[in-house]
Amino acid sequence: MESQPNKQTGWCNGIAVDLYSGGVGKSCLLLQFTDKRFQPVHDLTIGVEFGARMITIDGKQIKLQIWDTAGQEAFRSITRSYYRGAAGALLVYDITRRETFNHLTTWLEDARQHSNSNMVIMLIGNKSDLESRREVKKEEGEAFAREHGLIFMETSAKTAANVEEAFINTAKEIYEKIQEGVFDINNEVCCTFLLNLAS
């Protein structure tokens, strides 16, 4: 883990990674998590945006640093720069668009290649509120996650369903790894959090 020293209680440094074509609602997820609001029309993420929020795990205050990365192919090389130094990543696809699900494998290879091998990856199927337009079954998401050793969840940035849980569960996982000493951080809780979207 890169040293993201924390002077207070703890840092959780994460990246939200978005797989190319964009528009799966990763930025909405982040906004829902950090500001508790939903913004239906969001500008395309250009490059990377930063967000932060405090959470409590085991009575300990941990600040999550979230880097929301662009989903488009054009930004792929930029996104790669964020893998190393991230403790966790949320990989998001859009359940109403199969192609975003199909891109997961490519993304995962890329992430595994450029990241710390201990990076916690959570797979997220977003837009669960749009059941009528669903193209990817929940079971498929579960199967993919099982196959690649990821945690899985379906969320809705619109209704906020599972958003909180998605981030906090990932953070918990990271926190456990820190406790186990998998992440080599002297005394300081520090984790980078990557939010990457498979779009």
């Binding site: 890169e2 040293s3 993201q4 020293p5 002077k7 207070q8 250009i46 490059g47 990377v48 945006e49 930063f50 967000g51 932060a52 600040k63 640093q65 880097w67 930004f75 090389s77 930029i78 790669r80 720069s81 964020y82 190393r84 130094g85 450029h114 980078t192």
Partner: protein, 868 residues
């Protein structure tokens, strides 16, 4: 040079007698050797020699050796020495500047400047080359790492955009550079710092990655190692990099705030002990100025409000604001540092109520203690203070009152007469003093500062109207508004003072009819504005004054409540049209926004003026102007009667089009009126019709009822007659009765005749009148008829009784029969006549017909009686 030559000899062998090889030839041989020698040692020696020649014969080495050097980087990367030479050589040939001992034999001087750029272009044609150089950053050997850093810096200097893209695209490119900040060899760390400063210029993606790679932590580490503001130029470089990362990059600003880095800024502004005169070296001044820039970058006025607010809050909470205020009040601070600190404090408090309140309570350590605001304003109206400092105070004052209702009202309060005698100097007094001082710049500063108390605050505009000034002993006190207007008249050629006052008055009068009223009541006000707006001087600044006067007049029209009858809305409008001409007037107004200083002032709240003469317009005023210009133009332009406003489209029309439009509008209005009238008529008629229809229905039902009853009665009468016929005996009595009946019948006959008469003589109007009569009438007549019917029934019953008596009177029967026949004949006669009449009446219309039938029924009622 001798050393180089001897070195060359050892590499190339002794040159042939008599023919001294040219530089180009030597380079060619060396390049050949680098490319084709099989022994590493030979290649290394040749490379070293190339490096030695690369300054003097820069063009030759670059032109011929580029390929060979790149080949070395690729093939011999394991040998640090040769790589070092190759990198050094590349550094030399791509250097942005030229060398003193460089020889330009074949090239004209004009192209010398961009040799480095051209070689850079050639080098990066193969992006892998840059990748190779990035790779060498990981090599710890000083002789490789350092030239690699320098080479990248040169390349960046020459072709920044391309190199940025290549580095972004190469895996871990940025992180390799970031690692260098941790290098224990200061030269490398410092050069890497310079490289990063270049790299992060104008590329938000790189800025974010650099920030992600813990740049802020590393930079703060370096800064504290170097001793904060007392550190050398490295501290400044660190701050420059920090500035690059934060400027216009909201994501990084947010990260900076969330990462608690603001807290780490505060110790940077620790002051040297006051006795220490050596505390302010040139480097320290630069460092502090850079740090102040960093603070300002986090809270610029143009930023998203939410982000700025939370950063401002943190700055106050962590004591940064306090530290900055301490610098303000400290002695011995260089003027430029003080100026920039004031600007910084300004932006840290701008629009943030908590911080503004804190600032209002800062006291200066003077004797007696005065609020810092007062002390600052004293500097502003003091012409001996440096210009920049005075500007910054005004900016600070602007930010202090920005969205600060409390501050605004407190300032105005100091000017209002109060019961308690105020001994100490107040902000209001200072500004009034400045307003009336002889120095134009002071006038301008004070007028603008005072206008800040009125921005978007109607309450204070009205409060300020109450301010009275005692001009000299014995004279009547005069209102501030009056005094301002007088000053305006007395300014003569002092454009700056005039503009200041005009801006103050415009801000004051805008959206405040009371202020307009007071202004118009001053006898000299409008004549002065008219004269100014109508004058025709061609100086740029004079034009600005004229435009501002026109604008102020426009405000007087727009916010006029017509209480001053001599200058009512309409009268002012006519004044504009007749005295100035509308076109001229509008032209004058547009002069304001055409002025070159207008766009400058409108762009940024801070004053960009470098000298006093450039200080004419203020940002807040420009905002007001922008907001009101359209409204003012609309208000001044004559409107058609009525308040139908299509202003925006009309404004863009020519007068002829406009008059045409007016014609059409009149036409439409006329048609609209007619339409409304007609609609009303239709409504009335519909209502009438429905009432009448109801009456008609009523009457029809009554009639049919009566008809039914009539039928029943007739049937009964017939039965009665039948019984009479069957009866065998008829007595005299019955005869007499019959006779009586006959008489009765005759009587009825005459009644029927009368009715006939009535019917015949009843004119149409008579019938219509009856028709119009209310339903009540209808009911009354119906009940009348019913009553008669009831009587008839009773009589009928009596008649039946009598008829029963008549049964015994046989002899009389014949006579009676005859009589009956006569009667029947008579009835038939009447019937026919009635039918004739009916037909006659039918010709007069349906309503009449109904009524007729009604009458007929009545007639029949009588008949029934008769027949009974």
């Amino acid at each position: 040079m001798e050393y180089f030559k001897s070195g060359l000899k050892s590499v190339l062998g002794t040159p042939q007698e008599g023919s001294q090889p040219t530089g180009a030839e030597t380079v060619e041989r060396l390049v050949d050797r680098v490319q084709s020698s099989t022994l590493l040692d030979d290649r290394r020696d040749a490379c070293r020699a190339l490096k030695a020649l690369s300054r003097k014969f820069r063009i030759e080495v670059g032109a011929q050796g580029m390929g060979a050097l790149c080949q070395v980087l690729e093939m011999d990367r394991r040998d640090c020495e040769i790589v070092g030479y190759a990198l050094d050589t590349l550094c030399n040939i791509t250097a942005p500047e030229s060398f003193e001992d460089e020889e330009h034999t074949s090239l004209s001087l004009s192209s010398v400047g961009n040799i480095g750029e051209q070689f850079t272009e050639i080098f990066i044609k193969q992006p892998d080359n840059v990748g190779l150089v990035l790779g060498f950053l990981e090599e710890y050997d000083f002789h490789v790492r350092w030239p690699a850093v320098k080479l990248l810096t040169s390349l960046l200097d020459n072709r920044p955009k391309e190199i940025q893209e290549i580095i972004l695209a190469s895996p871990m490119g940025v992180s390799k550079l970031m690692e260098l900040l941790g290098d224990s060899r200061e030269v490398i760390r410092n050069d890497a710092l310079l490289l990063l400063v270049q790299l992060t210029k104008g590329n938000a993606n790189i800025q974010k990655i650099v920030a992600f790679q813990s740049a802020f932590d590393r930079l703060f580490d370096v800064i504290s190692e170097e001793g904060y503001s007392d550190g050398g130029i490295v501290v400044e470089d660190c701050l420059l990099l920090m500035l690059n990362l934060l400027r216009n990059n909201n994501s990084n600003q947010n990260f900076f705030k969330e990462g608690s880095y603001i807290q780490r800024l505060a110790p940077m502004f620790n002051l040297p002990p006051e006795s220490d005169d050596t505390g302010w070296s040139a480097q320290k001044v630069s460092n502090i100025l850079c740090m102040l820039q960093v603070v300002r970058t986090l809270v610029p006025p143009g930023n998203p409000a939410q982000l700025t607010m939370s950063s401002q809050k943190t700055m106050k909470a962590c004591g940064l604001l306090e530290t900055l205020c301490n610098i303000l009040m400290a002695s011995g601070v260089p003027a430029d540092v003080l100026t920039e600190t004031i600007n910084t404090v300004a932006e840290v408090i701008r629009g943030n109520q908590g911080n503004q309140e804190y600032f209002a309570n800062v006291m200066a350590p003077s004797n007696p203690p005065r609020p810092a605001v007062v002390v600052l304003l004293m500097s502003m109206v003091n012409e001996k203070q440096p210009f920049g400092l005075r500007c910054s105070v005004l900016y600070c004052f602007q930010c202090f009152l920005f969205k600060n209702e409390i501050g605004q009202s407190q300032l105005v309060q100091t000017l209002l007469p109060s019961s308690t005698e105020v001994v100490s100097l107040t902000t209001g007094q200072l500004l009034c003093g400045g307003l009336f001082s002889g120095e134009a710049l002071s006038n301008w500063f004070s007028a603008v500062a005072l206008s800040y108390a009125l921005v978007e605050n109607p309450a204070q505009k009205e409060q300020l109207l109450r301010v009275l000034l005692a001009t000299s002993i014995g004279n009547q006190p005069i209102s501030l508004m009056h005094q301002c207007t007088m000053l305006l008249l007395q300014q003569g050629n002092k454009v700056q003072s005039k503009l200041g006052l005009l801006m103050l008055l415009s801000t004051w009068l805008a959206h405040c009819p009371l202020a307009v009223k007071q202004f118009l009541s001053i006898p000299t006000s409008i004549p002065y504005l008219t004269a100014q707006a109508g004058s025709n001087e061609h100086d740029d600044n004079e034009k600005l004054v004229q435009g501002m006067c026109a604008f102020l007049m426009g405000i007087c029209v727009t916010f006029n409540d017509d209480t001053v009858t001599t200058f009512s809305k309409e009268k002012l409008r006519q004044l504009v049209e007749k005295r100035l001409g509308l076109e001229t007037f509008l032209d004058k107004i547009s002069e304001v926004s055409k002025h070159e200083l207008y766009s400058k002032a409108a762009k940024h709240p801070q004053f960009q003026a470098k000298q006093s003469s450039e200080l004419l317009l203020d940002h807040e005023f420009c905002c007001l102007f922008k907001a009101l210009e359209g409204m003012v133009i609309k208000a001044v332009t004559p409107k058609p009667q009525g308040d139908l406003v299509n202003g925006s489209s009309e404004l863009s029309m020519s007068p002829s089009e406009n008059s045409l439009l007016l014609q059409y509008k009149d036409l439409i209005r006329e048609q609209d009126r007619k339409l409304q009238e007609l609609t009303q008529i239709i409504d009335r008629l519909t209502a009438e019709k429905s009432t009448l229809q109801a009456q008609v229905d009523d009457l029809t039902s009554t009639i049919s009822q009566l008809r039914d009853e009539n039928m029943v009665l007739r049937a009964q009468t017939n039965t009665g007659l039948g019984q009479t016929t069957d009866g065998s005996t008829l007595g005299h009595k019955s005869w007499a009765k019959s006779h009586q009946l006959k008489t009765d019948s005759e009587c009825k006959d005459s009644l029927t005749c009368k009715l006939e008469e009535q019917v015949t003589s009843g004119t149409m109007s008579d019938l219509e009148a009856r028709l119009r009569s209310t339903t009540m009438d209808g009911t009354v007549s119906t009940s009348d008829t019913e009553k008669e019917l009831r009587e008839t029934q009773q009589r009928l019953a009596a008649a039946e009784e009598k008829l029963a008596e008549l049964e015994s009177a046989d002899s009389e029967l014949q006579k009676l029969r005859k009589d009956q026949e006569d009667l029947l004949e008579l009835l038939t006669d009447q019937d026919t006549r009635l039918n004739q009449l009916k037909a006659q009446l039918r010709a007069l219309g349906e309503k009449v017909d109904d009524d007729d039938e009604d009458l007929e029924e009545e007639g029949e009622g009588y008949e029934d009686e008769d027949s009974a």
